[in-house]
Symmetry: C2
Subunit: 359 residues, 2 copies
């Protein structure tokens, strides 16, 4: 087991990564404020992992409330969040009851936001079970639900007390979900970690084949990158925004298609290629570099262009994303491979042409 | 104009209190992150104050989005909160757009919670227009909505950037609302400020008659008490809990009757008398002291007993309040007049008898 630390003063926490950590209830217990937990998962994960997880907690004398939500991004909304609140109240959960997210990014975002709001703030723990959640969304305390008009529009910064990552839980992960997670892994290489990108170019097929050593390394390196960024900029006032490479384009794809049609990672892959194309138009990347990035996404069988969406609608959705300041869209672009920057100067005409050429 | 400071390090802010501060847009402007605001009020306050307030902001070159919600505690729920989000998104509000609450406690709680969640946290400003909001709810950063099963069950700590209190706005306040606000004023005297309680005993009729000097003093002293408590204990880990005198009983009254039947302050008055009666049973207050407190509430024409509610249901609702830890109810009781304490040892039988005798 490897342990990383997210260094946030009084809100610091550990990320334990390793085969079998899901069974290590001893890692959890010191972080519970009371021996009562709400274990929040979805209908897909429940039959695979819930019973064993709940049993181990009960054997450790915990009272466990099980909350099973429908699966999918289209359920990441207020109605589903209210199911969590109803269950917490019906089972007399208290402000000190720990909410545990057992699932992918949607479960982590919703359980985390429920914890942020329940009785004005309850503790929570992340046990991510998809690659995307293990390399990205479980670390850093961003929680949210979607609004019909925008992705992650309503949420909170609420750090977990602990993140437990067991790569063994990826064995049952569908291939499409695995690929979607790789989009966020590649992102770290593109924005700040050229050696990691080069490693990915050598090992992407191993990851697709779920090679345990390769997965462990990719998860560890991704979490290390994320933990460093979050520790430096918890509230996204600066560097943390770089993690949004491809996300403003991607969120428009997700919202425009209807949440859940494209997986988040798929939308991020296509959105990242749009950001690369825009970076090329602004003179930072050359065509060869764009091709190099595209080749890696293609090897991961990820989309390198968006769906057909009306460009006006696409741009309207982008402007509704959370990255607008004083009506100027702040986009993460690549100055070169391995170095991203937030830029405001991309002309609207160029953004429009990129959307058109990449849809 | 008097200015108090809520001392919370990087989240510190000023409370300006004085006749005419509502017109002082110059007090607001330095706290806006961008010249765009969402002015959130309700159908009752809007015809009285909204147009002038919006005009002054527009004259100062601000872009103003007006959001008018239905009036009343029964609308303090997710559906109404979603109206705020819909309007914010429809009008392209950004993470730096300041939400301004113009109204009573319900508006302040909802606008504040919307600000806490919108794009994971937007700035907000409180302009309370009821006595209850001016002396209590606008200060301290507690924001929330109700859940069908519990008062303020879903919320956040989110401090305002500024609180502007204009006692002139109380001129149009209905008498019932004025009295409800006095319940929270009396509370400060009971829990920590005996000289203030004695002042209230001498001046309660002046307050009921809306004597400007008396109101100004009562608001100032209440805000000073609140600011001191919040500065010492922002997240209610200790002393701040004393502000909940009568509130666990009161929240059960509000939820049990259906939100909005009793005003919050009315429920707090009856709940405070229940807490006093329980304090007497535990040997802290004597009968004369309970009578003295009751006499003050009666002079303010506030209820000193609760509505008829099934005691089992009443107790169930109390246990759903946010004050339970390890299944033990933590009640604020009076050790003597002017000194409160959080106690866990009240026997259930005594709580039940107090409810029965005071309903």
């Amino acid at each position: 087991m490897e342990t990383l630390k997210v260094d946030l003063g009084p809100r610091s926490y550990s990320i334990h990564i390793g085969s079998g950590v899901l069974e290590r209830v001893d890692l959890l217990l010191p972080h519970l404020a009371q021996p009562k937990v709400a274990l929040i998962t979805n209908e897909t994960v429940a039959p695979l992992l819930l019973a064993a997880c709940a049993r181990r907690l009960r054997e450790a004398a915990c009272q466990v409330v099980e909350i099973i939500l429908p699966d999918g991004e289209r359920f990441k909304n207020w109605q589903t969040l209210d199911q969590i609140f109803n269950a917490l109240i019906a089972h007399s959960c208290e402000r000190d009851t720990t909410l545990i997210a057992l699932g992918g990014g949607v479960i982590g975002d919703m359980a985390g936001f429920a914890a942020a709001c329940f009785q004005r703030g309850a503790p929570f723990i992340q046990i991510p079970t998809t690659l995307l959640a293990q390399v990205d969304s479980s670390v850093g305390g961003k929680t949210a639900i979607n609004h019909a008009l925008g992705k992650n529009m309503i949420g909170a910064f609420h750090q977990p007390r602990l993140v437990l990552i067991d790569p063994d839980s990826l064995r049952s992960l569908p291939e499409r979900e695995l690929r979607a997670g790789l989009a966020e892994v590649i992102k770290y290489g593109l924005i700040r970690d050229l050696p990691f990108l080069e490693w990915l170019e050598r090992n992407i097929e191993k990851l697709l084949a779920k090679d345990p050593a390769a997965l462990l390394w990719a998860i560890h390196r991704s979490c290390r990158d994320k933990a460093e960024i979050v520790a430096a900029d918890e509230r996204e006032r600066g560097e943390r925004a770089l993690l949004n490479l491809g996300h403003t384009f991607g969120h428009a794809i997700e919202a425009g298609q209807g949440f859940g049609q494209w997986l988040h990672g798929e939308a991020v892959a296509a959105g990242t290629m749009m950001a690369c194309e825009l970076s090329r138009r602004l003179g930072w990347l050359d065509a060869g570099e764009v091709d190099r990035i595209q080749a890696l996404f293609e090897r991961a069988a990820l989309p390198v262009r968006g769906p057909r969406l009306d460009p006006d609608r696409f741009i309207e959705l982008m402007w509704r994303d959370k990255k607008v300041r004083n009506n100027r869209l702040r986009l993460v672009l690549l100055e070169r491979i391995g170095q991203a920057a937030v830029r405001e100067e991309a002309p609207l005409a160029d953004i429009r042409e990129v959307i058109a050429s990449r849809s």
